[in-house]
Subunit: 699 residues, 2 copies
Amino acid sequence: MENYLVIATFVGAVLAILFAVVMAKRVLGFDEGTEKMKKISASIRQGANAYLKRQYTIVSVFFGAMFIILCVMAAFSMLTWYVPFAFITGGLFSGLSGFVGMKIATAANARTANACRTGLNKGLRVAFSAGSVMGFTVVGLGLLDISIWFALLKYAFGCTASEITSAMLTFGMGASSMALFARVGGGIFTKAADVGADLVGKVEAGIPEDDPRNPACIADNVGDNVGDVAGMGADLYESYVGSVISASALGVAAFGGEIKAMAIPMLIAAVGILCSIFGTFLVRTKENATQKMLLKSLSRGTNFSAVLIALVAFPIIYFVLGKENLGFYFAIIAGLLAGVLIGLSTEYFTSDSYKPTKNLASKSETGSATIIIGGLGLGMLSTILPIVIVGACVLVAYFVSAGNLTEVGGASAGLYGIALAAVGMLSTLGITLATDAYGPVADNAGGIAEMSGLEPEVRQRTDALDSLGNTTAATGKGFAIGSAALTALALVASYIEKAQEVGSDVDFSTFTVMDPLVLVGLFIGACLPFVFAALTMDAVGRAAQSVVIEVRRQFKAIKGLIDGKADADYARCVDLCTKSSLKEMILPTIVAVVTPVVVGLILGVKGVVGMLAGATVTGFLLAVFMSNSGGAWDNAKKYIESGVHGGKGSDQHKAAVVGDTVGDPFKDTSGPAINILIKLLSMVSIVFAALVVNFSILG
Amino acid sequence: MENYLVIATFVGAVLAILFAVVMAKRVLGFDEGTEKMKKISASIRQGANAYLKRQYTIVSVFFGAMFIILCVMAAFSMLTWYVPFAFITGGLFSGLSGFVGMKIATAANARTANACRTGLNKGLRVAFSAGSVMGFTVVGLGLLDISIWFALLKYAFGCTASEITSAMLTFGMGASSMALFARVGGGIFTKAADVGADLVGKVEAGIPEDDPRNPACIADNVGDNVGDVAGMGADLYESYVGSVISASALGVAAFGGEIKAMAIPMLIAAVGILCSIFGTFLVRTKENATQKMLLKSLSRGTNFSAVLIALVAFPIIYFVLGKENLGFYFAIIAGLLAGVLIGLSTEYFTSDSYKPTKNLASKSETGSATIIIGGLGLGMLSTILPIVIVGACVLVAYFVSAGNLTEVGGASAGLYGIALAAVGMLSTLGITLATDAYGPVADNAGGIAEMSGLEPEVRQRTDALDSLGNTTAATGKGFAIGSAALTALALVASYIEKAQEVGSDVDFSTFTVMDPLVLVGLFIGACLPFVFAALTMDAVGRAAQSVVIEVRRQFKAIKGLIDGKADADYARCVDLCTKSSLKEMILPTIVAVVTPVVVGLILGVKGVVGMLAGATVTGFLLAVFMSNSGGAWDNAKKYIESGVHGGKGSDQHKAAVVGDTVGDPFKDTSGPAINILIKLLSMVSIVFAALVVNFSILG
């Protein structure tokens, strides 16, 4: 049966990629519109290409160095020789996911704008198809990488289950490292350009967003592509792959090396791809659709896919693991449900249809200080629901898996259940990512419509698509954050397995929370997301400041610019953002990779476990807090722009713009990067476990 | 020997109180100044009195209800009958500490202003004497309460060591509950008045701080007394008592019920009082002293006391515990040192003499959004040093105590060492609190000088004293936060002891971090400080908004007010702040008391331990983050006011005022309250342990 499982996974991966190709062809079949639109789109594409090229150059230095380090460790038998290569492919595929997403997004932006000239439905089709390319490329490449490595290691090299999972966790580390670079670099770029453009353009010069007179407007649109698209692609590739391989690794522990337990996560993922493809066919709307109808059509697709996978997973677990292990099925369902619920909670706290954001908008009446205090409070308060949801999901997934089992049982089965919950949560990533990734495409389309002076109704239509994108992005964030917490927990469990395997003499059955090494690890781990958030926020601040200075300079130096009689030097702003974001992305990533090794070498295995637990817990909290504060500020501003509390241009609106600007790095740089951070910490710890076990000072 | 130890403690307590009385007499011997000064001081005193009276009325309802609950539990043999009474006295003494501090501070404010008319040294003497009254009242009452209960339980009722510590932990819970009410209520009052006064007065009407035309100016000064004085008094009473009793409780566990291990923390505290009294004699300066010389004179006092206690603790440990247990001495020193180092780190991150705050001030050049982002980043980054310091202190205290011991050893000795480190850190609280508490007195004196139209050099002198107070407050915060983390850890250990004692069947030797109940507890606990911070910040926001509306109304309704021709209705603003802060303080405190019981009843003992660990870790981080962000914004604003980046009234200054306003609830409401929260959670868990062990659902 095993061979069929691997083949099924492979088939799923290939289907996803084929579907992505079909969708890409469909997108490219549309017309790019007027010459001006083509020109603007080309500048954006050019900027994004240049950025990615330089980013990959820098990242390849890091990957080269890590490759050498891993080879040295392999030479000293602390790792197998597969590990360095697995690490490289993980990074490669993760980068490729981002690259493909960026390519299609920059190809689709003008086409979406042009399609919106005909009507809303056509616009939705182009943008959503582009999102689908991204969604299915991510899941397809992820599963392809996993199934190829699995097949190679198992059939070509005859590795044991444990050797296979070790190598696979390393390519997870490669994917996570790449994702962190992409998220941090892209996040700094997009927010530096955005904040810089807003501060001088909107606040000081008083010109609207995406106005071609603003020298940073092309940079702002490039930013959407390198941050919200390429960054998100690499990020979710990492989440997807991470959840599958951590579950596979724990499956080995739970079922004593049986391949079927390793294959289940892959199989669920593969079937999830099929369900997602079916779901995409339901996304369509009427020509004169309202925003509500648009949202409904997207929800129809994602909900259908979710229900379908919930139905299909049952026979899979039943026939592959046997009816005595049906508990794992409920773990998958718990994960699926938790993802949806976290998304709803995010929507409640950040959408201007509900009380929290409406309340926040009203705080603009007493100025920017009160709206900042209010937004910070809102974000902090909004952590309760996701915490309770993830907590309940962990308990359910653990106990349905650990109890009532004949073949396996106990702690390792329970942890496998937690990991499967993460897989369940991400099983429909193909379509949820599609509904998420189409947002930046619509955003860019709006920018192009504005800059090329299209009819106002085109901008209205792209705005309708874009604002919808904010809601779907909230749902997407729910999945990303929730799955990160579950996957990180699973990886901590994998770390303990690994430490024992490489000969740690720590007795894991007498491993109390009150052990001072665990406690100190907990403190340090809990501190890491704070430090990481600080570093990335500061980086955005610094980069934005340089953009502000440049834009101010251009307004002064280029005569006639503000009257629309002269062209701004867009390329200079793009170049500035590229340089500063690439410079700034290095330190946070290095911190993330080096800290677990240093902590391990000082505090030993116990300290590392404490550190990972601490980082997972506060990382989850900070990520939710920062994403929701940022989202709520953004929507409070939009709510005021809709005409309440004085409307656009009022003092209240200015106060809300301050909130939105503070929220930008919160929700698009630091928050999402923390999700990657907490998994990367675990993976680095796993890969360097042998080093730590042999050379630690205190543990 | 035991009897002598108890008598020594009692003598230390009485000496502290006598010293406070002497100091109070000295303060009252000074003249209150002009009629106008007397009148203003009387209004402030009246407002503060009225507030405290109403606060104590509300709090007594809570204490009454808790008393009944504890009596019911005692009736069902889940507690001893001493517990309800111990709970009440803890609350009473904590409240009394705050009350005495407030009384002397409101008596000293006009006297300090008047003394500053003569010269700086005289002003310092009055203000510092007032601070000393507060400092020595807190430690005196704390130690008195402890020694009386100890003597009563041991000699009058013949209780066992374990019964004694149980009752003492309950009065810790009483003290912490009272402290939380005082900190939260006072913190909301002071910041609502401050923010409200600033937003309308400084920003909208453009009048200076403490201008008598501002209807909220008396409320602002009342706030300093009920928040920064009465709130801080109750808070540090709680910290002091908490550290001593948690160490005593762990001493019982470590030394198998020997009284001498219980008495050591009390004895160190008593000797610390003597060292502090000697230290105060060194605080004096020349008439024409610069700010640097002033600071030096304060540091001389605190440093001398710290060195003295470091010397004297050695023979105490040597002779009482024996030379084989000298390890505990080094635990005390580790704590003492850690407190100083955290204070230095706080100073580095928040003083405008160093790079971080100077950098922050420069961010005002690009507006309020960038200075907010910068301040948040600074605060988050500033968590590293305290985390490393506390981590190192925990490791040192644990290992010097747990290892190399003949009589005792192992984990319980190590945990006792951690608790002793907290006692060491707070041993010189008498003088450190004196240098901290004189700040609000000087602040008030400045307000009175302004309002009663004294000569400009008087305000300059009070400003010099006040600005110095900001630095000493930073040091004070270091001690408060550091000791909170260590005490909270000690209390978690006490909880585990207690749970075993009341018959929990959890096997604490197989209690891994990866247990799902521990993990979920960890998530929930980590979330609590976020929720608590959100609730308190929102409360400040709401209360401030009501003040803003009232001040705006008065400016409109009272003709001639802005021209100084009519009087504002000060009492109305005071009343408004009183009402709203008392209303708002209830929910956060109830959350803190109820959550541990609810979590315990659902998740059981394991869940509670996870919750306490999570709350301690993120609570520590959030408290440091919020205090330091707030402090840095405050000083960045003052730095700009000194003339850089455009100086007072510039756009940069306005941006910095926004930062400062956001920082107000950070550093004076939410941040300090979190210190109390993390200990209160543990104490509630300990008191309700029997309930949880008998009735929990999952654990």
